[in-house]
Symmetry: C2
């Protein structure tokens, strides 16, 4: 059972709910622990519900018929995934996949319950839509990156942001994983890492990719985004 | 001045508006005629407002710093563009460009007015969000196409749908225009059209692209979308 304080913090609409609906939220949400790599949600056909990240990290991605993946966004503690609640957002007509990037504790709010409540409470409906629209911006950013930016710049940005996020010079991911998160082919990423190694900007090993010349990597990432 | 019947048809929330807000809608909307190719909206910095298409066709697209364009969706009579109303949808943080595909008559509802009304009326807010979320699905479809589908299939699908839309065997667009609508490079489209011509599936001339073997083009477009 979840205490009210938690919901209050997550949901701006909490005070606008009837007591009955508050109870519904509490009764129809379940704490789930996902191991790293676990598939959490896979097609719009199932309405998994809203997923609130409590610890860890999950990601939403799209997948081609041949299994090629493109990461759309990642969610961290306090973030809410709404694209997994297709029965609440009827206008979402695409498939999105969600899995756990690392071991994650989540709270899943039953899709049917959320849909029912959003029918009778405009504030809930609004919140669901608003959350979805803000992901729209994330997806457009990814699309801009993939379609308009050169791979060296994208890779540099990715390495800088991973390193910053983990407060470490080493990005502990395989070429395969980096390619997956960036929505690129593994071969292309490996080739580019080889180039960056030859330039003494990074060192690539089994343990991952270590940044050896941060200044030049950042220059590559953030200089003249216009060219 | 617009008659109420028109707004009633377009806006499902019309009956939920106060008389004052109905008046605001009528007072702060203007009929605008755009010539083919006119830029209607260009950055999120300006809040153009909601654009309702009355006749013609407009399109929303993204653009790289080098001017490469990718069409996100097109809007036809009765459709509403909400991404041009960034002051209403605060969570939209990307630039979208809108221009007239052909001569179009539109009704533009002032962004500030719409934003004010959406603050005090949840139904209006909801409608704006819902409209934006449904475009999210369009954009995901475009992204799937561009990132996961081969160019021959995409070109075949494009030609089939253009021909069907205009009820004509000839698609009256230049290679440059086709590339722009498909989000591809002009050279790649020209090369592929040359290939389709050699296969006697289409005939390419100054007037446009004429479909000469519809059965094979459709087979290319719709067969085994999985391979």
């Amino acid at each position: 059972m979840y205490d009210e304080e938690f919901f209050k913090k997550i949901f701006p609409f909490w005070d606008k709910l009837s007591d009955n609906d508050k109870n519904m939220f509490e009764r129809y949400s379940s704490a789930v622990s996902y191991d790293r790599g676990t598939m959490i949600h896979s097609t719009k056909a199932e309405c998994t519900g809203a997923i609130i990240v409590k610890t860890g990290c999950i990601r939403a991605y799209m997948m081609s018929d041949e299994g090629r993946e493109i990461t759309l966004y990642r969610l961290y503690p306090g973030d809410i995934c709404m694209l997994s609640a297709s029965c609440v957002l009827k206008s979402i007509t695409f498939d999105v996949f969600i899995d756990a990037v690392e071991k994650s504790e989540c709270l899943v709010i039953n899709g049917k319950t959320l849909s029912d409540i959003s029918q009778r409470n405009m504030f809930v409906k609004n919140f669901a839509l608003e959350t979805a629209v803000s992901r729209f911006s994330d997806v457009m950013w990814v699309m801009q990156q993939i379609l308009f930016m050169s791979l060296d710049k994208r890779l540099a940005i990715f390495l800088c942001s991973e390193s910053e996020k983990n407060q470490s010079d080493t990005v502990r991911l395989t070429h395969e994983q980096i390619a997956k998160y960036m929505g690129s082919a593994r071969e292309a990423v490996s080739r580019m890492l080889k180039y960056l190694s030859r330039e003494n900007i990074v060192e690539s090993s089994r343990a991952g990719v270590r940044i050896t010349d941060r200044a030049r990597l950042e220059k590559l990432a953030f200089d003249q985004l216009k060219d």
